[in-house]
Structures are given as C-alpha cells and as structure tokens.
C-alpha cells in the first residue's frame, strides 16, 4: 500500500489524536545503542522541539520519522512509529512515498546547484504534482511565498540558487520542502549555520508554517526552542527524559537532568 497524498489529505484526525505516535523505539548503530525505548506523541499543526546535549539522539530520532536512517547501512530501528495511524516501518510502506509526505530541512542549507525555480520545482516534478507549466509556476510561487522568499527572488528565479545568502538558501530549502505539500516537516538544526538576523526570520517563518504543517525541530538553542515551539522533548544519552508543553519544560521541569540542561549546567 502506498501512502497517497490525497488519501492523507482527506484524513481528519480527532483534535486530540497526535499526528505521530512513536512507541518503544530503539535505534542501534552496529552494536551501539543510540536510542533507548523512546515513546513520544507529536501533535498536529504544532511545533515540537527536540532538545538535548550533542550525541543525545535527538537527530537520530528525527531521522527515524522519514526513515533517512535507512541510508545508513549499519543502522537498525525497532519499535513502532505511526503517522496518521500507519506504521511507517511496515513492510508495505514505500519509503519514497513516505518522504514525499514527511519533508526535511537540513542543518546546512543544501540547495541544488540549479536555478531558484528548478530547486523549488524539483520535488513537484518528481512526484508529478502539476500537469502544466502555469500550474508549476503557481506552485513555485506559492511555496516561495510560504517560505517568505518570493519578494526577494521573484525577479531572478532563473539565477543559480547557490548565489543566495545563507539565510535565503535555507528559506529556499524550506520552500523546496513545502512544494511537495508534506504533512510533516522535520528540521534538523535549521539555523545552526545562520546569523542571528537570518535565524530570527526563519523562526518567524516556522511559526507561520505551523498553520499548514506539523513541524518537528531539533535545536541546540534553548532560546530557540522556547521561542518557536509549543511542545518540547528533552533527550539525554539516548533516553527521552521528559516531554510536554514547552512552557512547562522550561519553567517547571520534573527531571533534574532537564533542570540542569536548561540552566546550562550540562550539555
């Protein structure tokens, strides 16, 4: 069974049902266990941030959600991750179709060395989302507008994307991801290579995007987690220490390790 975009679009979840449900997820790199028994629910149309010190497994968990870990040959994932109640590690799931529904923005801006237009149109072309040129133009404009980049690039869509500034490149990568209309967007430290102003623009953008997409963001900056996310999950040494509303995690953490991390004592 293929996950079809239309099928998913027609899905309406109960308001309180989480869009992603992870249950007892273990991840191993060879013999080394990277994630230990993670169970986490992620709500729809909210920003969930994953925080924790380096090597705590937050990025590993993020990459389980669109199965980018499949690319690492020694990586083994057990447990269950359900998106819209479908187990994404089930036999019949097509990982290509999954990734069309769960987009990803990476740590370093990685636009293709093609034109700005071609970058955004890349995904729609592969998934044949638009039948003619004017549809495609519309979709490209929509994506660039959503990513807050349209005004800056509308006159130079045919220029090569690597000529943009770092912050613009990252917004282009966001536009490229939303052009295939995923339901979930994964962001792996999307601002770590950017200056504070570009970071602020992207954070604002993330806040707008959550109206249409469910966003999971890995970040090293606790301020960023506090600013952009409604939910926060704290990882430590492969364990999920605690998760909940961002406000609660930052003001009244239940676990001592969380307390130590957010006050800057560890990590």
């Amino acid at each position: 069974m293929e996950i079809k975009t239309d099928a998913i679009n027609s899905l309406k979840l109960n308001k309180n049902t989480p869009i992603i449900q992870a249950k007892n997820v273990d991840v191993f790199y060879g013999y080394k266990q990277a994630l230990d028994n993670i169970s986490l629910d992620i709500p729809e149309n909210k920003v969930t941030s994953l925080i924790g010190p380096s090597g705590c497994g937050k990025s590993t968990f993020l990459r389980c959600i669109n199965r980018m870990n499949d690319l690492v040959s020694i990586c083994r994932v057990t447990g269950e991750i359900k998106i819209f109640n479908q187990d994404i590690y089930a036999q019949e799931v097509d990982v290509v179709a999954l990734r069309a529904n769960v987009g990803m923005v990476f740590q370093k801006p990685n636009p293709f060395p093609k034109s700005i237009y071609e970058n955004v149109a890349y995904g729609p072309k592969i998934h044949r989302l638009s039948s003619n040129k004017s549809d495609m133009d519309e979709l490209v404009e929509w994506s660039l507008r959503k990513a807050g980049l349209w005004e800056e690039v509308k006159d130079r869509l045919n220029e090569v994307a690597t000529g943009l500034s770092g912050g613009q490149q990252q917004r282009l990568c966001i536009a490229r991801a939303i052009a295939v209309k995923p339901r979930v967007i994964l962001m792996d430290e999307p601002c770590s290579a950017l200056d504070p102003i570009a970071t602020a623009i992207i954070e604002e953008l993330i806040d707008e995007l959550r109206n249409n997409f469910s966003i999971i963001i890995v970040t090293h900056s606790m301020q960023q987690a506090a600013r952009v996310s409604q939910r926060t999950a704290f990882f430590h040494m492969g364990n999920l220490v605690e998760s909940g509303k961002t406000k609660n995690i930052f003001t009244s953490p239940k676990d001592e390790r969380t307390q130590n991390y957010i006050t800057g004592r560890i990590g």
Binding site: N66, M68, L71, S73, V96, A97, L98, R99, A100, N101, G103, M104, F106, K108, N110, P111, F112, P113, K114, Y122, G123, I126, H127, C173, R176, A177, V180, M222, I262, T263, G264, R265
Partner: protein, 340 residues
C-alpha cells in the same frame, strides 16, 4: 539564565589560581636568537628538491625542442600543407638514387583519421562501461563490494599495454574475423575494431577511477536533499548527482581520449600499418603512433625525409594530446573549486 552562566564563569576564574602545581618547572632560559639544529640541512634539502624538479622540467623542454627542430627540418623537405592535408601516406624512400619519385608521399590525413577512428571506437567502449561502473561503485556498491571491485578494476590499469596488444592481435581480432565470416562480413585480420575494442577496455579503469572521484566529490548533502524530498536513488543520480558531476566527468573522458590517441602498443600489434583512408572499422587502418614506431625501428639514416617525418608526427601528436589534457585539467579544476 545568562546571569547564571556569567556567575559560573566567574567561579571558574576564581578557581584557576588553585590549580595543582605543575610537575615540570619551566626553568629553561628564554633564548630566541640561536638554536641547536643547523641551517645547512634545510638548505641541502631545499636544493635537492629544486634540482629534482628542474631535471623533469629540463627534460620536457629538451624533448619539445628536439621535436620542434627536427620537425622544422622535415618541413623544409615536405611542405606543411602537404603533410597536414595530403591523403596519401607512403614514406618509403627509393633504394637507388636514380629512381623516380624517390621521396615518397607524406600526407598525414589517413593516419589522423585512423587514429581518430580507433580512439572513437575505444571511447564508445570505455565511456559507458567506465562511467556506469563509477556510478555503481560510488552510489550503489556496499562498502564491502567496493573494497573488492575497485582494486580489481585497478588491476586492469596495471596490465602492460603489450599484453593488451597481443590479446587484441591473437584473441580478439581472429574472433571478430571468424564472427564476421559467419555473418558474411569481410573483416580484415588487423582491424580498427579489434584495436579499438581492446583499447577501450584498457581505458575503462582510467575513466571509472577519475569519474568515481568526481562523483564522490558531489556533497552528500545534495543527495540527502533529493532523497529527503522523496526521490528514488536513480532519480537522485540522474537529476542531482550527475548534473553536478558532469564537468568533472567530461574532464575524465577527455583525459581518456588523449590516452587513446597516444596509445601505441595495441595499435602496432593489432591495427596494422596499411595507411587506408577509411571509416570502416572492419578494415585495417594505421595510426600516428604506429607509424612513428614503423619509421624509427631498424637502422635508419637520420637525414632522410622518411625518418624526419616521425618527428613531425610526434609533434602533431604532442600538440593534440597537450590541448586535450589542458582542456580536461581546466574542466576538472574548475569543477573542484565549485564546492570548496
């Protein structure tokens, strides 16, 4: 939160004087005008390095000059236009001085077309095989498979060309001839096809190893981006990896072509010496390199047009491969800069 951080920083500041005393005391005098090692060693090493590189450069310059001057003395006997545009190559000079037309004819066109024909056949073989094996190695092969296959491919590069030569002459050519006879084609026993096919096999490792490097240099982040958008492996290769690697790949193809044009042993053994002006790969053709070998083997007088023509051919070959190499290196380097 930041106030807390600053506070703890101050704590560290206060802590530092209380560090345990160093076990080693630094009682050495502060001497910065003399040292124990000598300068002579430095100069000697530098001199040896410079001398070695000078030898290589001097020899190259010497070869180019000798090619150049001998060619000039050839062109005093035979005009440049006859050499470059003449279509008849038969450099045999007469045995007796009173023979008519004693000088032979020196039109290099059949040699040039023969060289191009064989190189073209070789590239037709080597380009797909080399490129596809490079793509397999860099994009599909597991690390274990790669560790086995890459050295095996490189063994191909280690086979002496003379071995390829008799493989072409004694195995491939007879095989082509008998196959041709079976389907009613007349295949010469020394055909351009046999030489070209084997030469193509010889160039595979060159192209695959250079292309493999170039494909590997395409940043993994681009592959991640493409796969993360839900494209398949082959879509990623066709639409992202290869377009990004194409300049470097064409550089490696040009290097392969210049290797094919300059290759000698295989064509001497398998392509023959008959200077036919033909585009039929089943006929015998000859190449610039094979003719140079034929002109200069055995006892020769060094002032006849026949012998001197070898230098003109050598110069022609040198110029062509030099241009190809320069273009390809330029392309490869330009590509390398792109992701730095």
């Amino acid at each position: 939160m930041i106030a807390q951080l600053l506070e703890s920083n101050e704590q560290f500041d206060v802590d530092s004087p209380n560090m345990p005393n160093e076990a080693v005391t630094l009682s050495k005098p502060f001497n910065i005008t003399t040292r124990n090692s000598s300068n002579i060693g430095e100069y000697a090493i530098k001199f040896i390095m410079v001398a070695c590189s000078m030898v290589a450069i001097a020899v190259t310059v010497g070869i180019v000059f000798s090619l150049f001057f001998e060619s000039i003395s050839f062109f005093q006997r035979v005009s440049i236009s006859e050499f470059l545009f003449g279509t008849k190559w038969s450099p045999q000079t007469a045995l007796r001085a009173d023979q008519v037309a004693a000088e032979g004819s020196f039109g290099a066109v059949p040699l040039i077309t023969g060289t191009l024909l064989i190189s073209f056949i070789a590239m037709c073989v080597a380009t797909p095989l080399g490129l596809f094996s490079a793509i397999y190695l860099s994009e599909y092969a597991s690390r274990r498979a790669r560790n086995v296959i890459k050295p095996l491919l490189e063994i191909l590069a280690g086979i002496p060309t003379v071995v390829y030569g008799f493989f072409a002459a004694l195995t491939v050519a007879p095989m082509l001839r008998s196959t041709g006879e079976n389907i009613g084609l007349n295949v010469s026993s020394e055909s351009a096809l046999a030489a070209g096919l084997v030469m193509g096999i010889m160039i595979i490792p060159l192209i695959s190893s250079l292309s493999d490097d170039v494909i590997n240099a395409v940043p993994q982040s681009l592959r991640d981006a493409s796969l993360g958008l839900g494209s398949t492996n082959s879509e990623t290769i066709r639409k992202v990896v290869l377009p990004a690697a194409i300049p470097g790949i064409s550089g490696s193809l040009l290097l392969g072509a210049s290797r094919a044009i300059g290759e000698t042993m295989i064509v001497v053994m398998a392509a023959g010496l008959a200077a036919n002006l033909t585009a039929n790969p089943l006929e015998a053709v000859t190449t610039i390199t094979a003719q140079i070998v034929a002109l200069l083997t055995g006892d020769q007088e060094f002032d006849s047009a026949k012998t001197l023509s070898a230098f003109a051919l050598g110069l022609l070959l040198f110029i062509v491969t030099l241009i190809l190499n320069m273009i390809s290196l330029k392309i490869v380097n330009k590509y390398r800069e792109q992701y730095d």
